[in-house]
Subunit: 302 residues, 2 copies
């Protein structure tokens, strides 16, 4: 189960009742944050979640609306007497940017590990989840993120029994580990059915539409995608500023065959995103307007 909360939905600047776009997910007792604009720590508190279990902070890029809340968040983590290390992931330059901002958050009681990405596509695995990063098309290096929780095949009690394996060895096999019994090695494939669909969440902002997005978001249970503009006549502006209209996001969702799409990262000039949703759904029916603190728990199918 992956708890997902879209902490805010604003682009460019925070507004009363519209925090800057940021995503927080909870899995396996720890939390991961993507982007941290001004006000993110308050948005977390408004959701009723805690900053303490955040082990990983990912950045799409370093425009102010995606990172300006970091010093305050770090200070709050320090004030809460965090000692466990924090991992930060983002495009090249991460350490330089974070260390510059830390001029106002100098003495933290925990370590920060930096993972800087420069390849166009990059994968990491930790805490039982896979993080897939892919470079998108913005005015500065910017990455989209997919979070994947893989699921092994169904455990076959019949096969385990046939092999004569004692029950205490079933669990490690089920978790994907090999075991030894009476001098013979048993691998998971011997007792597991074909790999099943896991959970997949894709988060993508700020960017123009790009093939890589449709490819990496493919089959996501939830695709959270920027939609800077709802007004159709703002396509030229979207192109100029390297952002997307709602309809471009919907086309991507359709191509990527995702289950559901939430729009986010609205222009401050866009007061009521909902007024455009019918036109969005004409392209991709399972689209919803993100709103601050919109949440869902994604589980395995069945």
């Amino acid at each position: 189960m992956l708890d997902v909360c879209l902490l805010g939905t604003g682009g460019m600047m925070p507004l009363p009742k519209r925090a800057l776009t940021s995503l927080m997910v909870r899995y396996n007792g720890s939390s991961l944050l993507i982007d941290c604009g001004e006000g993110t720590q308050v948005a977390i508190r408004e959701k009723g979640w805690s900053v303490n279990p955040i082990d990983t902070i990912c950045f799409t890029h370093y425009h102010g609306d995606h990172i300006s809340g970091l010093p305050g968040l770090l200070l709050s983590m320090g004030n809460a007497e965090r000692t466990s290390p924090l991992t930060m992931i983002g495009p090249k330059g991460l350490k330089k940017v974070v260390n510059a901002l830390r001029i106002i958050a100098p003495g933290l009681p925990f370590e920060i590990n930096f993972v800087e990405i420069s390849d166009n596509i990059c994968n990491m695995e930790f805490n039982g989840l896979m993080l897939e990063m892919f470079r998108v098309d913005h005015s500065v290096p910017c990455y989209g993120y997919s979070i994947v929780i893989p699921r092994t095949g169904k455990f076959s009690v019949e096969n385990a029994k046939k092999l004569g394996l004692p029950i205490n060895l079933w669990n490690p096999l089920q978790k994907g580990n090999s075991v030894e019994f009476e001098g013979k090695v048993y691998t998971p494939e011997m007792v597991l059915g074909p790999v099943r669909k896991g959970i997949k969440l894709t988060y993508c902002t700020d960017t123009r539409p790009a093939d890589i997005i449709a490819l990496k978001a493919y089959g996501s249970d939830l695709f959270i995608c920027e939609g800077m503009y709802g007004e159709k006549d703002k396509l030229a502006k979207a192109k100029e500023n390297k952002h997307m209209t709602f309809y471009e996001a919907a086309e991507l969702a359709k191509r990527a065959c995702v289950k559901k799409m939430w729009l986010t990262h609205y222009s401050p000039s866009l007061i009521k995103p909902e007024q455009y949703i019918n036109d969005v759904r004409a392209i991709f029916p399972d689209a919803e307007c993100g709103r601050d603190r919109k949440s869902v728990t994604l589980g395995f199918e069945d």
Copy 2:
């Protein structure tokens, strides 16, 4: 007339419904901000004021809760296409801190002028107001600020007539300028009564009590003072962290003979500041708990 708004009342970290302590004043068509923690720009919008007329930003010191909102504010000013220069005032190190934070707000369409203070007391005059800065007692160099709008003496129509001055020369004299008429110089003193009480506002956080505060706040119409702790048993903690209790702030207000005091900069652990107000008023009766966006317009007496 000086419009005053206490934008937030929080210390250390922003909370839902409690922004970080910051003061905004409007006078003569321009605005001045003291401190700019994370969320200040949203607090300004919540008040219904604008970031555009802010010409001056003063900093008490550079702890994160007093400056973390600066990059976002600068970006928003830039997005609003500001071109007029912005003046920043603060303790030594200002330029270094601001330029470090500007790693995420690099290309601004306006100039920033820095005024770094290192003297214990320092005065400036601009835009018709006097700014008095005084060093207080915190863990890092930290300054309190008094904003004074001076008021000239009452214009004596009788004297002006006696001197035979034509009406078109009355206004410059009233504004404190000398004039020449029929080969003779007339100075303001010749037509103005004794200098009258102006408007005085003092803002002071973060600090232990200090004589200089009582001295510089003396006679203020409004004294906005930090009160980190309401609980009487937190005096030792206040001393250790170089902050004040509500009662220490009240003693200062009493010594400074101010008209009114607002408390601010509450510890995140202090949920209901109002519960201590009666004990505060036993020391200084005209005390009030600051709350977010508490506002007043200070005018000349009469």
